[in-house]
């Protein structure tokens, strides 16, 4: 006997029917399958493959000796941790859960800090051509021009300023005389 083979598109429909995936709107398809002995045979074949696979795997699971699962439970039990209740336990649990994020963040921050240190302009770079020209000269004013004092305000007294230029350079002499000074007291 030769079994007529239907097209694959209808086989797909048969599979959906066998798996209960045909929508209610496809009631026509279900009725058509019910009327077609070949289609019913294929649906039955799909279900048989399912029964074979399911039965075989369940028997395979049953065949594993209890001792192996008992041993597995002992290993599991060794690794079970009590639920986190205290604050520290919760912090630890949070860290465990987000360990990856924390480490990633810390590494990123470290890299940024290292880059900032490496790229920071050093004192040596200040005199480098091109860099010094654009930089602001921040030397103290006193080192650029010698200050010269012409007068000194001295509340509660009087002052005299004398500037002298000689061979050693420039000398300033300041006389301060307090007011109401009584000589000899």
């Amino acid at each position: 006997m030769t079994t007529p083979l239907s097209t694959t598109s209808s086989d797909l429909e048969l599979m959906e029917h066998a798996d209960g995936e045909l929508a209610d709107a496809d009631a026509d398809a279900a009725a058509r399958i019910a009327r077609d002995p070949d289609a019913r045979a294929k649906v039955e074949a799909i279900q048989q493959v399912g029964e074979l696979v399911r039965g075989h795997l369940e028997l395979s699971a049953d065949a594993v000796h209890d001792a192996r699962f008992a041993s597995m439970w002992r290993r599991i039990d060794d690794q079970l941790v009590a639920p986190a209740t205290g604050l520290w336990a919760r912090v630890t649990a949070w860290f465990d859960h987000y360990r990856g994020h924390v480490i990633t963040g810390a590494v990123s921050a470290g890299v940024v800090a290292a880059l900032a240190l490496v790229l920071r302009p050093s004192a040596h770079d200040a005199g480098a051509p091109g860099l010094g020209a654009a930089a602001i000269d921040v030397r103290p004013v006193a080192l650029r021009a010698t200050p010269e004092i012409d007068a000194l305000d001295t509340p509660g007294g009087s002052s005299t300023v004398i500037n002298l230029d000689d061979e050693d350079g420039h000398t300033t002499v300041i006389w301060v005389t307090p007011a109401d000074t009584v000589e000899g007291i």
Partner: protein, 245 residues
Amino acid sequence: MNKAGERASIPSHGRDPVDDRELVLAAQRGDRDAFKTLFERYHRRAYALAFGVLRHQDDAMDVVQDAFIKAHRYLDKFEGSSSFYTWLYRIVMNLAIDQLRKHRRARPVELDEERIENDGDNPLLPRILGGNPGRALLDKQIRNRIDQALDQLSDNHRSVLVMRELEGLSYEAMAEAMGCSKGTIMSRLFHARRNMQKRLLDLIDNPSAALVDDLTGGQAREDDAAEPARDNDSPRKRVPAARSR
């Protein structure tokens, strides 16, 4: 021995959901005995799933162990919107798929993912094994053949087949679990079943010669001509109708 096709020793989906909920609540409060009861209730079922996908006993045991440890670790996040086992099998399935990705062996890559519409040359087969696959599972030789057939499926085809047949997952749920489209799932499932049937061809009761020719490309008759005194232990002895044409 179990009556095949039934789930005698492995708890069925959603069994004692109230008890499970109470056990989960107790385990969330730190009751290890409650968690052990959940383990005892579902470890074989979880193992069957992992073994079906991975096809390796030790790998499957590792996955089940890791799954229970992970389930306990995240038990406080389990809100009970699904059954405990549904939650557990998702963990098992994720770990098993991860394991497959990590240790992917050289397997045939399925090239048929998205072209079932035009694959008219490979239809589903009609009924096999008479009407009682359960009885067939008592035959060690047949079980070995099923093992071989499962081994020969690609990882993706086998994963979908196992999820569907063992857990009864919908196409949508499988698509979510495997991170692909529903169409891809349907294609994988179709080809997985088709390939299983093809590899169990010799178990078909009285197939027509045309059917055997269709599936073997006429190879069977050529083999007969070249090798008339085939080993009597060969599974092909089960298809006398195909030889007699």
